[in-house]
Amino acid sequence: MDAQTLSYIFVGLSFALYIGIAFWSRVTSTSEFYVAGGGVHPVVNGMATAADWMSAASFLSVAGLLAFAGRDASVYMIGWTGGYVLLALLLAPYLRKFGRFTVPEFIGDRYYSNVARVVAVICLIFISFTYIAGQMRGVGIVFSRFLEVEINTGVIIGMAIVFFYAVMGGMKGITYTQVAQYCVLIFAFLVPAVYLSIMWTDNPIPQLGFGDILNDGSGLTVLEKLDQVTVELGFTAYTQATRSKIDSLAIVAALMIGTAGLPHVIVRFFTVPKVSDARKSAGYALAFICVMYTTIPAVAAFSRLNLSESVNEIAYAEAPSWVANWENTGLIAWRDKNGDGIIQYRAGKALDPAKPQFTGQRGEYGERVVSNTPTSSTNEIYVDRDIMVMANPEIAQLPNWVVALIAAGAVAAALSTAAGLLLVISSSIAHDLMKRTFMPNITDKQELLSARLAAVAAILVAGWFGINPPAFVAQTVAFAFGMAAASLFPPIVMGIFSKRVNRQGAICGMLTGLVLTVGYIVYFNFLAPELNNAEHWLFGISTTGIGSVGAALNVAVTIVVSRMTSAPPQEVQDMVDDIRIPAGAGVAHHH
């Protein structure tokens, strides 16, 4: 059977499974809709959290990011995973003891203020929508590449599937679907990784294989060979860091704090039965994530080796078939600058602008002609970073069912994250805005209905973003993590560990952190992109790292303003005392 038919079968089967789970886990109360009734086993929750958090980008793009940026991209690995330590130690157990439904709810109650609540809801919605746009687009792209349907059709199919299990099953449906999605995506990621590792080193464990000796008899280790090859081609050595220390520190801190402040991740810890389960569950979540995240650097190293070895100085006509296959989808482009018919892979951009613009004609050797201006670099080939994962099965000459598996895995990664984000958006609208702020008298049934309607509306908006992706999609990671770090994480942590911080402090702090971070990112990415370099940055910190400065400023402002104003009321201080003690956490409930 060909890869495409198999992809249809695999993706179809996975969809059938998700819909089946949706029917089995229909919900009837808001408690089930928001937090799955609070009865999710910690291991199950850990697995669901892992799927929730690992997005289409984790599955498709991070390996490519690492392959091309080498050690410089390691900051993402440390930053994204290190955030779970903060989450487990500083947030999860206390928020579980607090025992409600949403993140803004904690901020609103702890700071006895609807202003704080609404600010938190606005941050949450903004973070979640910037994130979700990329997921919906991701579903569409996977469909278009593996199943050859229009991107927009793919987005609509994805919306329909998420609609089914998020609207019907709420958190309960999402949790169990995410468990299934984790299994699909991890299997899909590991199979080609194991094959690649065997192909280069005979070692079946990729995490060890990429530190092993190559099986080509050269006696070099994988990393030595990579350093050698990259330097020969004019790049910085693969294991060499080039980013400034201060910027690296700021980025790692911003990504860690941002990860710990992502509402769709935090809310997963409301679903376990006990406080101690919240801690254990965070450990399992990170362990499940690390199964994939420790494999990614190995995949990156092997793919980079593949690319340099099987493409460079090879005549186009004799290049492996995957080159032409991916050229047809526009992810590879070749422009024969020196007219020798041989592909030269070197440091530097091959084309200007960087993305190829195909004219629709074929050149002398059968390559797709691009209309981009050739750059002065001797590099002749453009390679999209997503290819590092998607082309792996072909590069490693794996059977077609592995290609199909990658398709199903990528769709699973995108859908699980999209669903988690949709849920926090709809719970915040129904619970924080309606029930807790503007319409306190609605019944549980009405609130459940409005949560479902909010989910429908959120899916439509997300789908619209997927079909008309905003131009800033590439910067959304900086945006989402920066905002989460600068606005949501500090007031939650301070609300738990200090009884003195009060409403005035928290509101001023959140707004300061937010204004600085958003202002900085908007200024350098949109208003003055020509100034976006280390010379003009504040302390040499890039837009990706600015969230850490925002968070620090948020903390400072909160403390100073709280000191100058009166202490929080006694009831609030008692509440803080209560959430510090693990005993006595009931199921999340209404009041």
């Binding site: 408690s31 609070g38 390691s74 690995m77 440390i78 995973t81 290190g82 779970y84 330590v85 903060l86 487990a88 025992g99 203020s113 609807n114 202003v115 600010v119 995490q207 530190g211 092993d212 000796i213 280790t221 994988v222 990393l223 030595e224 294991t239 860091a241 690296s248 520190l249 790692v252 860690m256 039965p273 006990k274 101690s276 801690r279 254990k280 965070a282 450990g283 990170l286 362990a287 690390c290 995240y293 420790t294 650097p297 549980d444 707004l511 009321p569 009831e571 609030v572 008692d574 005392d577 209560d578 510090r580 003690i581 693990p582 005993a583 006595g584 199921v587 409930h589 209404h590 009041h591």
Partner: protein, 137 residues
Amino acid sequence: MSRNTDPDNVESTGDNTRSSKVYHHDEAENLPPSSQHDSEVLSEENLKSYWRANIKVLITLLGVWAFVSFICGILLGDWLDQFYLGGFPLGFWFTQQGAMLCFVAIIFVYHYWMQHIERAHGVDDDIDSQPAQQPEG
């Protein structure tokens, strides 16, 4: 977001009346039988020493966390590269494998360490393992 003080003031008066109501209400419902056990069995002193022990755990483990990520991963990364772990330069290994493995270990150590401290102070949540009997409010 407007930062003008007017709506804030209007909100805050509204908040005050609301919040006192909310918390009374909560306390009645949010403190099931197990919390009465809190107030009877747990002395003020015991709770304080539990919280101090907790903070000590956090400082220790966050110290390890910062060490493996910020120090080994970034600041000392180049220096550590002179040592090897199999075929990995050590600094490089920390950034792409080691730090992540340490993070997982830190969280599990935290879980078991806290469980131990909580049992010693009698504030553990072992008794709430049966499903909560809370009716919908």
